[in-house]
Symmetry: C2
Subunit: 187 residues, 2 copies
C-alpha cells in the first residue's frame, strides 16, 4: 500500500464519520463527505469504489479503535474482575466514546440488517466482545454467565444509543458509572 493511499483512507473515513454525524446516515451524500474532507466526490469513488465500501471501511476503522482500546486495557489488568472492568471501560474509551463516533456507531448498527457488509462486521464484532466478556464472567458469576453477558452487552449498547441521542459523551463519567453498574450486577 502506498503512503498516500493510507493517508487518504484515514482522511476520508474520518470525514465520513463527521459527515454522517452531521447529516445522518439516511441523508448523507457523497458530496457531504467530500466537502468534509476538502475533496471531491469523485476522488472518494477512486479510492473506495462505492459509497457502501466507504461505509464499510469507516466502520472497520471504528471497530479497530475498539479492539485496540480493549487490548491495551487488558494489558494492565490482573484477574477476572479487573479484566472485566477493562473490557467495559474500553467500550467507553476517550478515543472511542465521542459524539460523532457514537452517532455513527448507532446508525451503522441500526442499518446493519439492510447491508450485508455491515451485518457481517456487526456479527463479528459482537461475537468477539461476547466471548471476551464470557471468558471473565465464567470466573465471576459461574451460575449466570449467559444472563450477565447479555445484560452487559445490552447495557453498553443502550448507553451508546442514549449518548448518540443526547450528543453528550462524557467518557470518564460513563466509565465510572459503568463500574458502579458492574458492582451491582456482578456480585
Amino acid at each position: 500500500m502506498s503512503r498516500i493511499r493510507d493517508l487518504r483512507n484515514e482522511e476520508l473515513t474520518s470525514a465520513a464519520i463527521r459527515a454522517v454525524h452531521r447529516h445522518g446516515y439516511a441523508q448523507v451524500t457523497m458530496t457531504d463527505i467530500a466537502q468534509e474532507a476538502n475533496a471531491s466526490a469523485a476522488s472518494i469513488n477512486y479510492y473506495f469504489g462505492t459509497k457502501e465500501k466507504l461505509m464499510e471501511a469507516t466502520m472497520r476503522r471504528l471497530l479497530g479503535l475498539l479492539r485496540r482500546a480493549a487490548l491495551e486495557r487488558l494489558q494492565g489488568a490482573q484477574g477476572p474482575r479487573a479484566r472485566l472492568e477493562a473490557l467495559v471501560a474500553a467500550n467507553f474509551d476517550d478515543r472511542l466514546f465521542v459524539p460523532a463516533q457514537c452517532s455513527l456507531w448507532v446508525q451503522f448498527w441500526s442499518n446493519a440488517p439492510y447491508s450485508t457488509s455491515l451485518a457481517r462486521l456487526h456479527r463479528i464484532n459482537r461475537a468477539r466482545v461476547q466471548s471476551h466478556l464470557q471468558a471473565e464472567l465464567r470466573h465471576l458469576v459461574p451460575g449466570a454467565v449467559e444472563t450477565v453477558t447479555a445484560t452487559l452487552q445490552a447495557y453498553m449498547d443502550g448507553v451508546w444509543l442514549e449518548a448518540a441521542q443526547s450528543g453528550i459523551c462524557d467518557a470518564q463519567a460513563t466509565r465510572r458509572e459503568a463500574a458502579v453498574v458492574l458492582g451491582r450486577l456482578v456480585v
Copy 2:
C-alpha cells in the same frame, strides 16, 4: 374524524411499519409503503401530506402501544417492586416486542437526532418512562435511583437493539430474562 380516515390511518401506519422493517428506514420509499398497504403513493400523501408526517404518525402509534401496555400492567401491580416489574415487562409486551416493531423502534430512534418531529417524540417518551421508573426506584434503591434508572433504560434499549439485529423477539422469554436482571440489579 371520519370513520374511514381512522381506518386508513391504521392501515397506512401499519403498512409503514412492515415496509420499514423490510427495506430499512434509509431506503424505504413511499411506493414500498403503498404496495404494502395495497394502495397508491398518492393516497398516502392525501392522508399524511408528507413522508415525514407519516413516519411521525407511525411512531406515535408505537408509543401509544407502549403507553397502553404500561398502564394495563400497572393496574394489577401492588407495591413498588411489582410496579417496577410491570413497567419493564410492558417494554417487552407481546403486542409491542415483535420483529417489525423492534426494527422500526431502533431505526426511528437512531434517526431521531435528524428529524425534529422524531426527536420530540423521543424526548417525550424517554422522559415519561424515566419518571415512571424513578417513582418506583425511589422506594427500592433510595441511594442509587439515578444510576439504576439509567441502567434499566440502557438495558431495555440495548435489548431492543439486539432484537432488531437478530430479528428474534421472544417476548415471553425476554420478560423472564428482564425479571432476572431486575433481581440482580435491584437488591
